[in-house]
Structures are given as structure tokens and as C-alpha cells.
Symmetry: C2
DNA sequence: ATGTATGCAAACCATTTGCAATGAC
DNA sequence: GTCATTGCAAATGGTTTGCATACAT
């Protein structure tokens, strides 16, 4: 993964610069966390990040993870999502195209869908009093699996109802 | 507000139908909550809804609010947002156009921005294995107020740095 | 009459906070 | 040496859960 190494170097530099200008210390923890985040694509939450780092024998506390993530959010190297449920999920954002999220409101699953040209640069510039870092489209709906489960449930309810009717008015039926 | 009354009737009917087909009971609490939600536009969270209902002398428990909101989410009369922070915010969705959210990652404030034609119906149909109920664009960035605050902070840091340099190398300056 | 829905209080759990110890500067 | 940062453990607070009571069916 030569490309990924290059990417890591870039974000490392960016983070270093950010820490310097903001007078924050360059601790090994901070760079290790950045490295872990940019070792995977896709979404992660604090708990999974914590566990995977511990598993790889890097000791960090959750508190430090939260602190560092805050810095990474502030300098735009990570974005935060809250799709539902109570867990925040995060995603590295450097070198990631904007994309859409399909969120099933029934099971909470999230899918990604590429779509480069939702907003043109011209449209983004038109937004006044606001500096855009990142955008993504959240599309709420029901996935095919849950839709199927719901149909089954509805059918079950209907079946029960007709049974009740039969039981309630048996005389009419003869 | 004649139009609003009409809207309320519509959503009332929809909710009634939903409750009936799903064999849920039509309790006064549920309809009162729906009514409160459709009495205001814009975002709300459970706590503010709770307080406003109590203030208007309608006693509900938070538990019931959460339960009812779940039903309303399920039947698509309400959508849930999590912009950051730990509070879920909700929004009535019937008769609401899809719109964009500008989210300041610094102060957490959210603005709305109308944009009717982000996705065409044709584009939405192209999404396979997924039934779209609602979508909205989340645009993350920094609002002008926070941007200003950040600039000030950076300037302060720079000032301090130059002071330190002067203090550290006074001989060079003479 | 039956069992779902409510209200209350306790439990839960992701996130935040306080503080002593560490280590970047 | 100084003070920001870390790690731990306790606190916080939005949300969920358990259970006795109320009430829609």
C-alpha cells in the first residue's frame, strides 16, 4: 500500500502543522491514533478504535481517544456521524470523497453510495456566512430486509384479525 | 392557521390508520403528542417537548414521549436528526420539503437551507434495495461567528509566540 | 376481562470531567 | 522546571428498562 503510506504522510504533516500553530503538544498517542484511523477506510466508533488499538498492543485510554478525536475533528481530518442509536461514528475525511449515506431507520444499518456531483463548487460558494468543510447526504428509509420483515409482520396481524372476526361472528357464517 | 388545521387532520388520519393496522392502541397521549409536534415547525428535542407539554398542562412522562416518537418515526411522520452533541433532535416530516442542514462543527448550531432539487425522483428510484422516506443534506463547516473566534484565537497564539521569541533572543535584536 | 400503554424510578451506557502522575517543551 | 496531556475512576445525562397501575379494546 504505497498510496496509503503517502496519504499517511500527508495527514501526518497536516496534523503536525495544526498542533504547532495551535500550541498543542505532539504526543506519541496523538500520532498513533491518527495512524490507526488512516489504516482503515469506513466508519468506526470510539469503542472499536479503543479495542483494536489495545489488541495491537498500543495502550490508550478512552479519554485520550475522545480528546484526540476532538482535535482531528477541529482540523478537519476526521468527520463525525450520528446515524441513530447513541453511538457516534467517525470517518477519516482527508482524501475521502463526499458521499451519501443510506440509513435504514428500522435496523440502523448504514450503506454508502458514491455521488460526486451532488453539490457543485459554485453552489457551495453561494452559501453565505459559512465555510464548508465537508458534506454528506443522509437518505433515510427502509432496507429491503426490513421492508420484507415489516410485510411479514403486517400479514401476520391481518391473519390474526381475520381469525378474530371468524371467532366473533360464527353464526353469520352458516 | 387554517392550513395547519388541515395538516393536523391529515397526519391524525395517517397516524390512526397506522395504529389500527399495527394493532396499537389509540391513546389520548399519542394524539396529544402528535398534535404538539405539528403545532410547531422546526427542530425539537424530547426535553423541550416534555417541558412545553407540561407547561401547557398536559401531563406526559418522558418514557411515553420516547415510545410515541418511535411510532411516529416508524410511520414516517417524524424524522430524527443527530447533529452532534448527545441530544437527538426531531422534526415533523409530513408536508415538510427535504432540506439542507448547515452544521457548525465548532458551536453546534444548525441552520436550514431550502433546496428542493438536490435529488430528482428519477435518481431516488435508482437506489436499489432501499425505500426512501426522506433525505437531507448535512453540510459541515464553520459559521462566520466561530470562524471569527478562531481567527482571533490564532492571532493571540501568534502574538504570544512572537513575544516569546523576543524574550528568548534579545541579544540578536541589538 | 384482557393485556397494552402509561408513569415512575432505577438502570444503562456513551461521553465528560476531576485529579494525580507523566512526559513534551 | 513548567504545565499540557495522559489514564484512571467517578460523574453526568440522554435514553432505556422494569414493574405496578390505568385504561383502550
Amino acid at each position: 500500500m504505497d498510496a496509503n503510506l503517502k496519504l499517511k504522510n500527508r495527514v501526518n504533516e497536516e496534523f503536525t502543522e495544526y498542533l504547532t500553530t495551535h500550541k498543542h503538544r505532539k504526543t506519541p498517542e496523538r500520532f498513533a491514533i491518527l495512524d490507526y484511523i488512516y489504516s482503515t477506510k469506513g466508519h468506526f466508533d470510539i469503542d472499536s478504535l479503543y479495542k483494536s488499538m489495545v489488541e495491537m498492543n498500543f495502550r490508550v485510554s478512552r479519554a485520550t481517544l475522545y480528546n484526540t478525536i476532538d482535535l482531528l475533528l477541529d482540523c478537519g481530518l476526521v468527520v463525525k456521524h450520528q446515524f441513530g442509536g447513541n453511538v457516534s461514528t467517525y470517518e477519516r475525511s482527508y482524501g475521502n470523497e463526499n458521499h451519501n449515506h443510506l440509513i435504514c431507520t428500522s435496523c440502523g444499518e448504514v450503506w454508502e453510495m458514491k455521488n460526486d456531483d451532488l453539490l457543485t463548487p459554485a453552489q457551495l460558494k453561494k452559501i453565505r456566512r459559512f465555510t464548508v468543510n465537508y458534506y454528506s447526504m443522509y437518505i433515510y428509509g427502509v432496507c429491503s430486509k426490513c421492508a420484507h420483515a415489516k410485510r411479514m409482520e403486517l400479514r401476520r396481524l391481518e391473519r390474526e384479525e381475520s381469525k378474530e372476526k371468524v371467532a366473533a361472528e360464527p353464526k353469520k357464517r352458516r
